[in-house]
Amino acid sequence: MRWTSMPQFSVPSSQLPVPRFRLRTENWELRTRVLAILSAIITLLTPLPSALPYAQPSADARRISVYSPVATYSLPVLERAGHEYVGLLELLEPLGRVSSQSAGRRWKLRYNAVDAEFAAGRTRAMIRGRDFDLTAPFLIENSRGLVPINSLGTLLPRFLGTPVNFHESARRLFVGDVGIQASFRLEASNPPRLLLNFSAPVNPTISTEPGKLRMVFRRDPVVSPGSESISFDSNVIRQASYSENNGDAELDITANQPLMASFSNDRRTIVISAVPQTPAAPSVAESPIASSPNPSSPNTGSSNPSSSNPGSENNGSENNAPKNPAQPPPAANTASSNSETNANSNFHRILAVVDPAHGGDERGAALTDSLAEKDVTLGFARLLRHELQIRGFAVAMLRDGDSTLTLDQRAAAANVARAGIYITLHADSEGSGARVYTALLPVEGPSNGAFHPWNAAQAPALPVSRIVSAAILAEMTKREFPVRASSASLRPLNNVSMPAVAVELAPGTDGIADLTSANYQQRAAAAIADAVASVRDRLMVQQ
């Protein structure tokens, strides 16, 4: 998750009152020592004035969020004599060139070419040579000028020259036309999916609790969709409600089943769907999506008892699988009859994570002048998802659009979902047929009990990964599809803790055109799905 840094305030050491006295000693060594001690004390004390009163606000501290085309930031709100105040210098600083000068009770401010003068304890100020009345007296504290926040809606346009929309009760300030509009669309699929479309990419903090999925937009200028509450005609997803509070916007989705969220359309769409009820992998319902790209990151720990993912990069899995394990999957064009038998006889649905490699800014190999690897892998992954679903697997795709995911995020998403198998898909313009890879593990130290090094997380599952690879090799060979199997140092294969294989699709007899041929991809996907279904029992043991 990308966050813009919170402004930190400090007072230059030159402005600190330094005691003035003269060292009368003639002893040079003693003088040097005293000066060194004084310097150390001043250095230690310098950050204190900035750290104590204006420390980064905690989650409960009052703050104001400012959204503008040039910066998005939050500032602490101070309460003085029953009014809420904010530092005017700090408020304007991210928006342009600003300087201030304090002389006694007078406080002068220059923002770009706009001059203003305030007086401590007075409500009357002078901006651009004209009078302006604040709703509460202006305050000066430690040379900082504080203005009441309920004056900001009229005060800031004087400085900025642009309209300002201030949601006073929620302390959200919109400079210019930066608001992100949200719209809802319920898809009557099985299970139903709620699509939240935003007019710009968003990055909310998503948390879940029984019957509710909460999205908090702290850095995104999301505005009300028009109605505070929208009800849906669905047995699963009941209602969406919008609220604003303390600088944040919040969207709550209420349902009678655990929900999961995934991003698509370059983070402009959030897909909400019910978590498939998989008894073998209960954690999928609790935290369906990666909470941190790095398992050693402290962010993986949740401060919210309701299994929230603060600071999470929810680039996770979209799951279109039927949720009811008792219902057999629709037997469409199942290539292998014994696969269906296996699917019906097993009560558990195994979660398969399908990862179309590359995406977004990362295009992968340039297969032709106009064809990028990321596009081929996405199409191939969608076909594989379908083939796995009709063989009874629950399938999660790590991306279902042109979004950028790091390798760590991909591995973390698969690990958190506790998938039964991870399949990453690649494409190459050279060679023919397909290549199947298992992890080539790097040199690592021994595991410490139940913990494995991140770079060798695959180690315990590698034997089963090789069984899956051999099964794919056999199945493709049976179908006269040219195939080769080997090991590769290809991340994130070595970071996932479940059986994992990579499949690289190369052209067939028709050359590079095969890579975009649905028929060719379908043959490969069906072979892979049949192979994975044939080793289903091994995956369940592993899971």
């Binding site: 050279e430 060679g431 593990l441 790097p442 040199v443 590769a488 140092s489 290809l490 070595n494 990579a502």
Partner: protein, 194 residues
């Protein structure tokens, strides 16, 4: 009746035009040869001195998707480090020949190799090696395996290999093969034989 001196003059001019044409063609051919020489971006390295030895180079073959052992006689200096560098440069020369089974960019080069005891080697590639490498799991992995196996077989004692690009760790060679980890020679050799 055309005057005789006019005929002689026209004939002389025609002869001049033809000879100028021939000379022009000759000049163009020379210019083309000069251009092709200038475009040759083979790294200029001082020739290695030392006794000629027979070494085993593991040459990647994209068509077969495997490494093939090839024996070559090359002059090798005495020091282990210089020996390692010459080995990999000899390997690179194969990849840089026209019609190579695993083509690499003409400007690709080994900047240096550091042998760190006990048993660790660090191969430092130049930027052109990685930037102009073909992107693909198989192609990139074959390059890595080829470098590691050739080094390990001909320079005794090497058990682990790291690959840097321009002296820095790079995430992947060309989008796929992970270069952030240390390669275990035994694992690579076993994977190759498998």
């Amino acid at each position: 009746m055309i005057p005789r001196h006019l005929l002689i003059g026209v004939a002389a001019l025609l002869l001049l035009v033809v000879s100028m044409g021939i000379y022009l063609r000759h000049m163009r051919r020379q210019a083309r040869e000069f251009d092709s020489l200038a475009a040759d971006e083979f790294p200029v390295a001082p020739p290695a001195s030392g006794p000629t030895e027979t070494v085993t180079l593991y040459v990647a073959d994209d068509g077969a998707g495997a490494l093939r052992a090839r024996y070559a006689k090359i002059p090798l200096p005495g020091g282990r480090q210089q020996r390692a560098e010459e080995l990999l440069r000899a390997l690179l020369r194969i990849y840089q020949q026209p019609g190579a089974p695993h083509p690499l960019a003409p400007a690709a080069d080994i900047r240096s190799i550091f042998l760190v005891d006990p048993g660790a080697a660090v191969i430092d590639l130049n930027a052109a090696f990685a930037d102009q490498h073909r992107s693909g799991v198989l192609s990139e992995q074959l390059t890595v395996n080829s470098l590691v196996e050739t080094l390990a077989v001909n320079v005794p004692g090497i058990q682990r290999v790291n690959i840097l690009v321009e002296g820095k760790t790079r995430e992947t060679l060309a989008g796929h093969a992970d270069l952030t980890e240390t390669f275990d020679v035994t694992t690579i050799v076993q994977a190759g034989s498998r």
